[in-house]
Structure formats: C-alpha cells, structure tokens
Amino acid sequence: MTAAPTAATDNVILLETRELGFYRQDEPVFASLNFRLRSGELGLIEGDNGSGKTTLMRILAGLLHVDEGELYWHGQPLQREHCVGEVLFLGHQLGLKADLSPSENLQVAVGLHGYRAQTTLSAALAEVGLSGYDDEPVRRLSAGQKKRAALARLVLLPATLWLLDEPYANLDRTGIALVNRLLEEHLARDGAALVTSHGAVSFHGGEPQRIRMHA
C-alpha cells in the first residue's frame, strides 16, 4: 500500500459535526464547532490548553454527552450502537493494566475488539518496538514504552476512525515517526483519524485538515 489519498473529496463523509458545543458549569468549553471528516482523511485538532481538545475527543468517542449541536456518522445522526467497534480511542490514560505484560494487555483488547486482518500479536509488538518485553509487566516500562504498548492496539484492532488524544506525547523521534507511519497506513486503508496536538506535527502523508478549537 502506497500513496495515501489526500484531501480526498471524492471519499464519503465519515463524521460530521454541526454547531457542536459543550458547557461545563454553564461556561462554554467550545461552541459552534463545524467540520467534516472524510474517509482517508486526517483531522488535526489544534488549540491551546483548555480549549476543549480532550473534551471533543471524549464526546466523539461517546464518553461525554452532547450538550449542543449534532453529530453525524455516515450521514445519519450518531448513535452509540451504529459506530460500535468502528471507533478506536486512545486517551490520556492508556488503558493498560500495570500488572499485566504488554502482550497480556493486548490479548484483552483483542478479546473485546477482535483482530484486524493479517495481523498477529507478536507482529504488532514488533512493529511498535516492544518485542522482547513479553514477560515484563507494564509497570516496569518507561513512559514512552507504555505509549508504544498502547499504540500496538492501533496495529492490532480493526477500526475505521481513530481518535488519538496527544499520540505524540512521551515519544522519542522514532516513536513520532512510528505514529506518523501508522497514520499513513491507516489513511491508505481508507480509514480516518482525528489527532490532537498542541505541538507542530511533521506528517508526511499530505496536508491534514486543521480544526481550530476556540470557545
């Protein structure tokens, strides 16, 4: 698989927000957010600290209730049941049990989500650079290695839309390159991804759609 289709206007609209808004204690976190994400497209959510990037991610993942505005999935009003198993969320908390090894953690994830075609657990661990850490509990890994263990889910699990909250945090240069490579492959498969970051991202798979967050 090569050459990601960039800014693919001919592709279907996967996710659309209309006048999305969120309030905390009646103070708007963000308001009237409009964007469309097509398959094969990367959305880069930009904004300062406290501009609601994580909140937006949690809303899109279905963890938070929508206060205002509408969400559409494949042109239909979004309901949790429709996008079940199509969304993969990687949040600030990595969702790894500290007492289990990376492969044990991934086994649980695979048990819940299933495998993507043509992947195996050991191949996924090798891809994120964690082969040889099979018997090490996650507790003993460095912050960057933990992040890599969580990223292995992206290799292993089937999903159409990736919601990655600060995927570059804690990673070294090869780690950042790994995230970008995973994203490029995902987009090439006609997947879509939304990524938050307050730093600049050197993404080579084409120009991502930039979504500015402001209250």
Binding site: R24, Q25, D26, E27, H65
Partner: protein
Amino acid sequence: MSKWIPLWLHKLSSPPTFYRFAGALRPWLLALALLTGAIALYGGLVLAPADYQQGDAYRIIFIHVPSAWMSLFIYGVMGFAAFVALVWRIKLAEVVAMESAPIGAAFTFITLVTGSLWGKPMWGTWWTWDARLTSELVLLFLYLGVIGLYHAFEDRRQGARAAAFLALIGIINVPIVHFSVNWWNTLHQGSTIRLLGPSTIAPGMLWPLLTMMLATKFYYLASLFGRVRTDLLDLESGKDWVRTIATGSTLQ
C-alpha cells in the same frame, strides 16, 4: 387548551422563570402552611375527642401520620424528578430532586421519632424490627445516601445525576413501606384512611388530620421553592439573569 400546558411547563422549567414563579408563590405557601397547621393543631389537640382505646395519647397521629405520608410523598416527587432529570437532563428537575431529599429526610426522621414516642406507651416498646418500621428506617438511610452522594461529587450536575440514579433504585422501597402492614402481619396497625372503602376514623378526628396533611404539603412546597431558588442562583451564577439580581436591579 391542552396544548398550552406542555408549553407552560417548558417555560417554567427555565431557571429564571421558575426563580420568579417560586419567589412570588413562596410567601403565600408559607402563610397557608402556618394557617392550616395552626388550625389542624387546634383541631387535633383541643377540639378532637379522646380515642375510645388510646385516650389522649393517640393525638400524636396528627404529627406522625402526615409526616409519614410526606416521607413517602416526597420520595415519590424526588423519584419522578430524578427520572425526568436523567432522561431529559432538565436542570430544574435535578435541583428539585436534590433539594427534596433533605426535606424528605426530615419528615422521615420526625415520623420515626414520633412513632417511637407513641410506641412506648401503646405497644410497650420504643422500637421493634417489624416490616413497617424497618422499611421506614431504610427510607431514611436512602434519603441520607442520596444527600451524601450528591455532595460527594465536585461537579454538582454530575452529582445530581448519580444521586438521582440512586433515588430511582431506592424507589422500590416506597411500595414496601406503604404495603408492609398488609403484606406482613406487623405490630404496626393497618391503614386507617383508605381511598377505597370507608375510613375507620371518626369525622371529628379526621378533619384535623386532613388539614395537617394540607399544611405539610404547603410547607414542603414553600421549603422546596426556597431551597430551589438558592440553588438556582448558585448553579447559574455565571448567567446574566443572576448578575442582574445580584447587582440589585430587579428582574421583573
């Protein structure tokens, strides 16, 4: 006509509208509560004749029975508001549910204390673990659990939703309290006032009881409105209508 009622309710559920509505009604409700309460007390303690069996000691029913009714009634209101709050996420419903809980807890406490004071001379015991008494005690703990859970959250609206959920789970206890005297053979006597069939109470004793029932309802509403108003000001402190009130200009 029937079209107007939902519209009116919808408008009323907006905090500023309810704030003004409750503020206008509250003095009247308080006055009515005091008036009916005084009449009921006079009727119950002075005018009503002594009971053939219990003598004057039965007069505690004029406090005990209306309180017991209110303990269940308020739980019902709280449960309904909790349901509305969870399903439609109406802020006013959350506030009504959460502010009903302390009032309901107070009535439940009064019920238990007066019942205990009554039980000692009549039954011969302060307390017995029969179904009615135990389920009423559980009701008190449920109220306290709802209050505790509400205050355990930092985000008050989230706390309100969690506590509302607990209130809904606990609503199963309400029919148990009410029907316990029929389902189990308890020391507590059966119900005197019946919706179906004749009540087994002389009219001279009945009217003060019913008047007191009205008084407690008025008091509940007055108290609830006061509490809800304070809460709304707090919850909406960032909004313009609250600023207008806080800066002294009237919002009429």
